[in-house]
Each structure stands twice: as structure tokens, then as C-alpha cells.
Amino acid sequence: MKDEQTMTNDFSVLSFAIKNVKRRPLRTAMLVLAITLLTAVLVFALSFIYRVHASIQIMTSRLGADIIVVPTGSRGAAEDVLLENKVKSFYMDQDILEKVSKIDGIEKMTHQTYLVTLSSLCCSVPESLIIAFDQDSDFIMKPWLKGKIDRKLGKGESIVGHESSFNISVGLVEVDSVLFGNVFKMVGVLDKTGTGLDNAVFISDDNISDIVKNSDLPIKPGQVSIIFAKIKEGFSHRKVANAIEDSIIEVDAVTRKDIGRSIINTLRDISGIFSMTIALASILSIFLAWTVFSAVANERSQEVGIMRAVGAKESHVMGLFFIEVLLIGAVGSTAGIVFGTGLSVLLAKSFTILKNISSDLRAVERLAVAVIGFVAGTGICIIGALVPIRRIKKMEPLTAIKER
């Protein structure tokens, strides 16, 4: 008897709420599951959308150019290369460089030429994008080369992107490889840029004439793939881009802001589907929480009446029920965050739009998504339970006691 009397069980409002939540395990589990699924969908959708947006933002901010100029009709291909790390090539004649340079507002410009390796036919490396760049005018590569190789790349030398399949497959540098019948020495690896550059191999454009000579590439001497331009201060990027397109019919000019516009449009459609799914799941979850807590309120009205009779205030009753709702919401939301995050990582490679995007969410972004998921999941649970809880807390104690 003494032992039983000395047992303490730290009775508190929280422990009381936990006991109440546990009393109908199946019903509680159903509500937790609904909140888990809702939060998982939300976290997955936000991760997906956030990742694509972040990738575009990172790429455009790191690109270093205000406008890109590509052959007419190649805008999509250029975005594929820059945003999605796809291996594509397109060419325009070099005299376009001079035409672009004459457009009012151009401060400086550089160009690159994209070459695609077809491993079995020409090269000793897996299929990769080889980017030949003009070292004299370059301002795109320079920030990334700094500290890696403090000199110009020589003829027959290359440097590889951080994520390039070649870099991954060899795992080291200072090795020789054959590109389009020419031997290249890999002399360095770029830092991670979070752009399409991470998957490419870089060479000086001095090598292009030899490559053209020794390969079947569909490139003519003097052709380039893309022009990057910086715009003078005070000039509208869009107006300069329009001026380029108006005066040079063979090219498309895309401002930094418009890069990735097609992906964003696709993303908008996907976001719409996600929003609809989340809205439906939210309505269902609110309805389920309302049903569950209506049943709880009916079952426990006598208990609430007793609590009120022994001195509990309306706010105490409300507080107790809210802790129960928060517990269910918190468990469901946390499980949903784990499930949704896991899903976003596992399924990321199943979505074409994500498959080739190099940037992933940073820890702080993942945390932000998790916080949004937690607040939304728990909030939905609270909204659903609000009406039944308000009804029961307003009941006169004797009426509540009689409602058995």
C-alpha cells in the first residue's frame, strides 16, 4: 500500500491530454494519417516548386550576363543546356558577334561554342558537353576558374565541371583523354556552380579549328553557339534585347529575367495541379478533424461538465482540447514532413523537370518547407476542430453533464 501511495505520475494538463488522445487509438490514427498525407503532399509540392525556382534563380544570378543571344529557335535548347544540364549544340555565324556589339547599350560581350561528344565515335569520354570559350573576352568562366588555374588554358588543356560525368568517372585530373580526335589534358576541376556548367568540360576556343578538322561535327569554322552580353548601366535589358532581335533576324535575345520562363510556365501548370490536390486534401482533413472532434465533444460532454463543475474555466476546457488537437496535428505534420521530404528526394529523379537540375534545396530551405508543412498541417487540424471545441466550451456545466 505504501508503495502505491508514493508512486507519482506527474499529472498535468499535458499528460491529461495525452491520455485523452490515446483513448480512441484507431480514430486518432485515422486523423493523424490524414494530416500526414496532407502535409506530405504539401512538403513534396513545395520542395518541387522551390527547387526549380531556386535553380533558375541561382543559374541566372551566377550567369554573369544580362542578355544571352542564340540562333533563332534555339532559345529552348540554350535553356536546356544552362538550366537542365542537357547536352545540346546549336550554331550561328561569328559575324553576328560584330552585329551584336554595335547595338546601343552593349557594354561587353563574350561567346562560347558548344560541342557534343559522342563517346563511341569520337571520344574517350562519356557523352558530354564540351564548351569552348574565348579566354580574352570571357567574364562567365573567370569567377569559377579563379583559384583553380591561375593562368590561361593552353591548347590541348581542359578543365572539367564539378558534376561532369567525365570527372565522376575518372575521379582525378591530370589525365589525358581524346576529344574529337585530339588529345586533351585535364588540368583542373571547377567548384560547384549550381548551373549547367557543372556537367561540362571546358576548353579554349583555340582548339576549335583542330576539332572541326578532325571530326564530323556539324560546325563550320568560325561558328559560335551563344553570346553573353553585359548591358551598360541605365539601359533597359528588355529594350536592348528587343533591339538585337529587331536588327539581327538570325538570333533570339533573352534577358536574364526571362531565362527559364518556359520552365516557369510549365511549373505554373504543375503548381496548379498541386494546389488543387492540396486544397482538396485540406478540405477533407478539415472535415475529418471536424467529424472526429464533434464525436469527441459529444462523448466527453459529461466529463467537460464535471470539469467545469469542479472549477475549470471555459479557457481551460478550450486549452485542454487544443493541446489534444496540437498533439494530433504535430504528430501528423511531423510524419508528413518526413514522408514528403523523403518522397521529394526519392521521386526527384522521376520528374524530367528535376532530373537535370543540378541545384538541390539547402538545409535552410528544407527547414522553411518543413516549418510551412508543420504550420499548415497543424493549422488545418485546429481549423477542423475549432467549431466542436467552441460548442462544448460554451455549454452550461449542468447541460453538459446531462448530455450523456
Binding site: M7, F11, R23, E396
Partner: protein
């Protein structure tokens, strides 16, 4: 000044268009430390009157004053504080919360009080255990209601009514499920609390012998009060 005073208190229910007068213009005055029994047939309005006195059912008309203060002039929180600080309830049924142990049921009245921790930072646990010992359940403090007999549940509910050191106990047939011996023990316990601590009792009962033990007897007939 009487500790508890009602002035023409009435409670009228409307059921299916028909008006039921449960309590009809009852005016009573009860002094501090009195032990009052309230008898009457089923449906005579005893429980309703007790609920009105305890602040859990607002009367249709009239007023209830406790120590001179109109309790139904208080807001919802004020009325809760009145119940918490002044009143100990014993209902017609055991009225225990099924998810709480016997001791936790006793701690319920102090759970929501701002000063619910005692000097040791514990929830008046010693007081709860002491009261359970006083009603003969010291060995069942961690038992759940489902593990207790009907009579044991009644005794837990009786003990709970004293948890807040109330000034007024409103007991609605509190010994209904008890055997004779335990009933007598409980009545002694009530009497001790009444005499030693000056707690006022209003005891609703059908048992004329129990009613006879009270210092003052009142009877409810069709909602009206008759002093005996």
C-alpha cells in the same frame, strides 16, 4: 448575513412547447457551518436547486447570493472561480473521468488553478492521498474507475469534493451506491468535516434516517421549498 441566500429562485424548462417549472420561487438562507438535508420525491427539483446553488445552472429568475455576492452576476470565469474556491460537488452518479486514476480524479479540481502547485512543486498529491485514505481507498490511489466497484467510485468522488477545501458541500445522494457500513462511515466523515472545519453541507437524500442526522431539514414539493 447568511452564507448562502436565494431570493425567489425559479428554473423553468421549455420541453416540446410545454413549460416545466423545476424550481418555483425558492427563497432560503443557510448559515455558515449548517448541515442541511434536502428531501423530496423524484422530480421535485432537488437536483436542479442544488445545481443552481452550485453555480452550474443559471436560474430563469431570482438571485443566489454567496457571502453577500450575487453569483450569477459574475461572468463565466468568475463563476468558475466561485465553484473552484467555494464549492465541493458530489453528483448523483460517480462522476469520475475514466482516463484518470483515483488520485488524478482528485487532482482535477486543482489542475487548472494558477496556484495549483504546493510548496514542494507537486500537485497537492499529499492532500489527495490523505483524502483517499480518509475514505478508505489508500490502497487504490492509482486504480482507474473501471478497476473500482461502484461504491469505491462513489467514495473517490466524495473525496474529490473536499480537494479544494470548499466552504460549501453540495451532495446529491452521495451515498446511494454504498453499503450500510460504508454509508455510516461516510456520514461520520461528513459530520467530522462539518464540525471540525465548519464546512456547510446541503445533502440531498431519499433516506429519511440520513436526513434526520442533519441539523436542519428542508423538503422540495413540486419545485417549492418547505422547511420541516
Amino acid at each position: 448575513m447568511a452564507q448562502l441566500q436565494t431570493d425567489e429562485v425559479s428554473m423553468i424548462y421549455a420541453i416540446g412547447g410545454e413549460q416545466i417549472i423545476a424550481v418555483d420561487k425558492v427563497s432560503i438562507a443557510i448559515e455558515k457551518g449548517e448541515f442541511v438535508s434536502l428531501v423530496g420525491h423524484s422530480g421535485s427539483g432537488k437536483t436542479t436547486l442544488l445545481s443552481i446553488l452550485g453555480g452550474i445552472a443559471k436560474p430563469s429568475s431570482g438571485s443566489v447570493r454567496f457571502e453577500g455576492r450575487d453569483i450569477y452576476g459574475l461572468n463565466s470565469d468568475g463563476l468558475s472561480e466561485y465553484r473552484s474556491e467555494k464549492i465541493g460537488f458530489m453528483f448523483q452518479f460517480a462522476s469520475l473521468l475514466s482516463v484518470l486514476t483515483a488520485k488524478e480524479n482528485l487532482l482535477l479540481p486543482v489542475l487548472f488553478k494558477p496556484s495549483r502547485k504546493d510548496a514542494d512543486g507537486k500537485l497537492h498529491e499529499e492532500r489527495a492521498v490523505e483524502l483517499l485514505n480518509m475514505v478508505g481507498l489508500g490502497d487504490r490511489i492509482n486504480a482507474y474507475p473501471s478497476q473500482l466497484s461502484g461504491g469505491q467510485q462513489r467514495r473517490v468522488a466524495i473525496a474529490r469534493a473536499f480537494m479544494n477545501d470548499p466552504e460549501l458541500i453540495l451532495a446529491d445522494e452521495p451515498t446511494g451506491d454504498l453499503d450500510e457500513e460504508t454509508e455510516a462511515d461516510m456520514m461520520r466523515f461528513f459530520s467530522d468535516m462539518n464540525k471540525a472545519q465548519g464546512v456547510t453541507f446541503i445533502l440531498v437524500t431519499h433516506n429519511t434516517e440520513l436526513a434526520g442526522q442533519a441539523g436542519r431539514r428542508m423538503k422540495m414539493v413540486h419545485g417549492k421549498n418547505e422547511e420541516q
